[in-house]
């Protein structure tokens, strides 16, 4: 029953989405409001239908309806309730459904916020419904979530155990909210091209959308790193894998867009550039899905393959050709703009920031598709690994941290020597002193010294600005608390941005610390034996085995002590799943502000007399996650309604 209902809802959904796209465009073209209203009702119906599909699939999972092939492949009767819910989007078909549902949701919100507007909105609605239609099409042809399975099996096959983690509810949801969120600015940009109103309207309309999408994408990336860190058991959080890169590229171009949009708002410059960036960003979200779902590039993420790759490639081609075609068509209107007055100005700092971000996106793109290029041209199989990405990106990111300090304080148009002295003398001195102190206390890694000094410089510029603003408010007689909150709320965009910058600096601190100072070792210990790492003693106490609902688990017990302190007990394990070839690591870790203890159980003697253990002491990693929290606060601050605008 469920397969037929779901399939039916999908088909009706496609018809309505296509109709709505056409009606909205026709309404915009002819100026007949009835058509636009009809398109709005279609959008509402599409949202209801996709929601129904989602609920149907969830219901099929909760009731173990193995007549649905997707359910049978993603669960077994022993899958607990919680993972049956997350399994809805645990694989290809369901994740496309989640994507479509979020698109429909964004479209609904766009309708609610902008209905009645005449200029850009009808065309944007048309574009969004068209994009939804594509995703619904994918769900009826190459990736059908409601395909029937006959004969109906007695039990299902089961979810990939790596996905049995709380990160699986949040990581894909955040990432997809980010990916799909960029559809809104893209749709309005397309509307701008179609109508020829390529001024600032689309930028100001979509400013909040872009921040929301960017924020969710950042969150998705960070949660992905967190999942990798505490589930995969290799002690790292980022590996430059193609699938990670796929999500990182739109983040880079999206970040560039956030900054360059400010210049267009302020100085009427960069129209062409901003439209290009939004097209690139949206294109990269589609490219990312293509990359992860087509099997074209080898990745550790073992995602499914099939004809879906061709669908996404065709869609990507259509999007890029039409969008850049529109850009060429409106060329003359897009190139009329203000001029750059001086190299020493905020515009040029932002411009440089854009150049570096797009350069980073390009190198990541190049590194990701290089294996393909090499095979196509020279017939040689190669793989591009972390060393390439690190080498080209580290200098770019360092420059970006430097610009993060410069950009917000340097004057618009043309900075005077006085402006530079007033704003940067203090922060530069702080950065230099920091570098000297770090060197004196024995930090020998030049890269670490450089990163931390630059980060402190950037943080100092922010502190300086907040200090000045607060002092000005104190002079008007406000109390300290009121002065600070008043400052933050009154200029929420500016200070939201600053808080986000602080979050990014904390992430940089965590990345630097973990790269420069983490230590690890691997040891095979007999029971009662200990290994010492970074001042900690890890003593092997023995093994035990348990049977859980989905797997068997072998647990090693280790007593961890430092100096004369009382030992704590850590229990890394290995999980054996029926459907998996290799056992899966159950990492045990203790997080701390300066260091994490991180244990991974390796091979062991069956009688429990000996075990191999990998011990990692990871430095400052927690600051990456703390940075994520700070970033969240900043994003919230940046999107609260502007009280000035009211």
């Amino acid at each position: 029953m469920i397969p037929e209902l779901g399939q039916g809802a999908l088909v009706v959904g496609i018809v309505l989405a296509v109709y709505g796209a056409i009606a909205a465009a026709a309404g915009a073209q002819t100026g007949r409001p009835a058509l636009i209203e009809s398109a709005q009702r279609a959008a509402l119906a599409v949202f209801a239908l996709v929601t129904a599909c989602f609920l149907l699939l969830a219901y099929a999972f909760l009731t173990f309806d193995f007549s649905v092939r997707y359910v049978a492949h993603q669960t077994t009767l022993s899958t607990p309730f919680y993972y049956r819910v997350t399994a809805v989007w645990g694989a290809l078909e369901g994740s496309i459904l989640l994507w479509a549902w979020m698109l429909a949701l964004y479209t609904l919100i766009v309708v609610l916020r902008h209905r009645g507007e005449r200029d850009l909105y009808p065309w944007a609605l048309s574009v969004m419904l068209g994009i939804i239609a594509f995703f619904l099409l994918v769900m009826t042809l190459p990736a059908p979530p409601f395909e029937r399975l006959t004969p109906v099996p007695a039990d299902g096959r089961g979810l990939n155990p790596l996905l049995e983690d709380t990160g699986m509810i949040t990581h894909p949801v955040a990432l997809y909210l980010g990916f799909t969120g960029f559809t809104v600015p893209f749709a309005f940009a397309m509307a701008a091209l179609v109508t020829g109103r390529v001024g600032d309207a689309w930028i100001t309309t979509t400013r909040r959308w872009t921040i929301v999408a960017w924020y969710f994408l950042s969150l998705g990336l960070l949660i992905g790193g967190w999942w990798s860190y505490h589930v995969l058991g290799w002690g790292g959080y980022w590996a430059w894998d193609p699938v990670e890169n796929a999500a990182f590229m739109p983040w880079l171009t999206g970040t560039a867009l956030l900054h360059s949009a400010m210049i267009q708002e302020r100085r009427r410059m960069l129209k062409l550039w901003n439209i290009s960036l939004v097209i690139l960003t949206f294109g990269l979200t589609i490219f990312g899905t293509f990359l992860t779902r087509s099997g074209v590039i080898a990745s550790v993420h073992a995602f499914s393959q099939g004809s879906i790759g061709a669908f996404f490639l065709a869609f990507l081609g259509l999007v890029l050709l039409v969008a850049f075609g529109g850009l060429a068509w409106r060329w003359d209107r897009l190139t009329a703009q203000g001029e750059l007055d001086s190299i020493l100005s905020r515009e040029s700092a932002f411009l440089l920031n854009n150049v570096f971000l797009v350069a980073a996106a390009f190198t990541v793109f190049f590194g990701t598709v290089f294996p393909l290029l090499s095979e196509a041209i020279r017939g040689v199989k190669v793989s591009v690994g972390a060393p390439f990405f690190n080498q080209v990106n580290v200098p770019l990111f360092l420059s970006l941290i430097f610009l993060m300090g410069v950009g917000p304080l340097i004057a618009w148009r043309r900075a005077s020597i006085d402006n530079l002295k007033r704003n940067f003398l203090g922060p530069v001195a702080i950065g230099l002193v920091a570098a000297a102190v770090l060197h004196l206390v024995g930090v020998r890694s030049t890269l670490a010294v450089l990163t931390l000094a630059l980060a402190l410089f950037a943080a100092a510029t922010i502190a300086l600005d907040v200090l000045r603003g607060t002092r000005a408010r104190l002079r008007t007689g406000a109390g300290l608390a009121r002065a600070v909150t008043g400052l933050l709320l009154r200029h929420n965009r500016r200070y939201g941005g600053f808080v986000i910058h602080l979050g990014i600096l904390l992430v940089a601190l965590g990345v630097t610390g973990s790269q420069a100072w983490s230590v690890q070792t691997e040891a095979t210990l007999k029971r009662g034996q200990a290994v010492e790492v970074a001042g900690y003693r890890f003593r092997f106490e023995g093994l035990s085995a348990t049977q859980e609902s989905t797997h068997a688990r072998v647990v090693g017990t280790f007593a961890v002590s430092r100096g004369g302190g009382a030992p704590i007990v850590m229990r890394p394990s290995k999980k054996f799943y029926r459907q998996e070839q290799a056992p899966i690591a159950g990492v045990d870790y203790r997080m701390g502000l300066t260091e994490d203890l991180y244990l991974v159980l390796g091979d062991f003697a069956r009688d429990g007399s000996a075990a191999t253990v990998k011990v990692l002491v990871n430095r400052l990693v927690s600051w990456i996650w703390i940075g994520g929290l700070v970033l969240t606060l900043g994003a919230l601050l940046a999107i609260v309604p502007d009280d000035r605008a009211a």
Partner: protein, 173 residues
């Protein structure tokens, strides 16, 4: 007019990505092709011994599989069984090696597909290491002289089996 170069520049990128459909990134050329196949002795699931040495002079199709390898191993199992039945009278041997598998699951797999060619577990993984197996399924076609002539990554089809085996049968021992 040069502004139209911007949309046009998309075309080569798309072309490159489309080219990606034609190549398999997991298809890594094996350095073992052309070399003598590593000898092995395996005890099959039904308790008999099978060794490469005892098959010298026959064309050997050595297939690495696992019951958890879905869907490729499930696709190729019927094809392998059909092909083995078609060629068993013509100096062709098929040997299946279940790697990193649980014995019960592997036995069920053999029973489900009624596999009648010898199938053996590789308990310490020695044979799969000797053959440099990356993943499953992988299949090695070994000629009468005991040299590896082709490595197939991914499911074996009836066609592929026939083509490779006919070629090797046509060669003198």
């Amino acid at each position: 007019m040069w502004r139209w170069l911007i949309p046009l520049s998309v075309v080569p990128v798309l072309g490159l990505l489309a080219y990606g459909f034609r190549v398999n990134p997991r298809d890594i050329p094996s350095p073992l092709v052309g070399r003598p196949a590593a000898p092995f002795v395996l005890r099959t699931f039904d308790g008999r011994d099978v060794s490469l040495e005892s098959l010298r002079g026959r064309v050997v199709v050595l297939n690495f599989w696992a019951s958890w390898c879905y869907p490729a191993c499930y696709e190729e199992a019927p094809a392998l069984e059909r092909s083995w039945r078609a060629y068993r009278g013509r100096e062709v041997s098929v040997v299946g090696v279940a790697i990193q598998d649980q014995p019960d699951a592997a036995r069920k797999f053999i029973a489900d597909f009624s596999l009648s060619f010898p199938n053996a577990p590789d308990p310490d993984g020695k044979v799969s290491v000797d053959y440099g197996v990356y993943g499953v399924p992988e299949t090695f076609f070994i000629d009468r002289a005991g040299r590896i002539r082709r490595k197939q990554t991914g499911a074996v089809s009836d066609d592929l089996f026939r083509r490779e085996v006919e070629k090797l049968l046509g060669e003198p021992a």
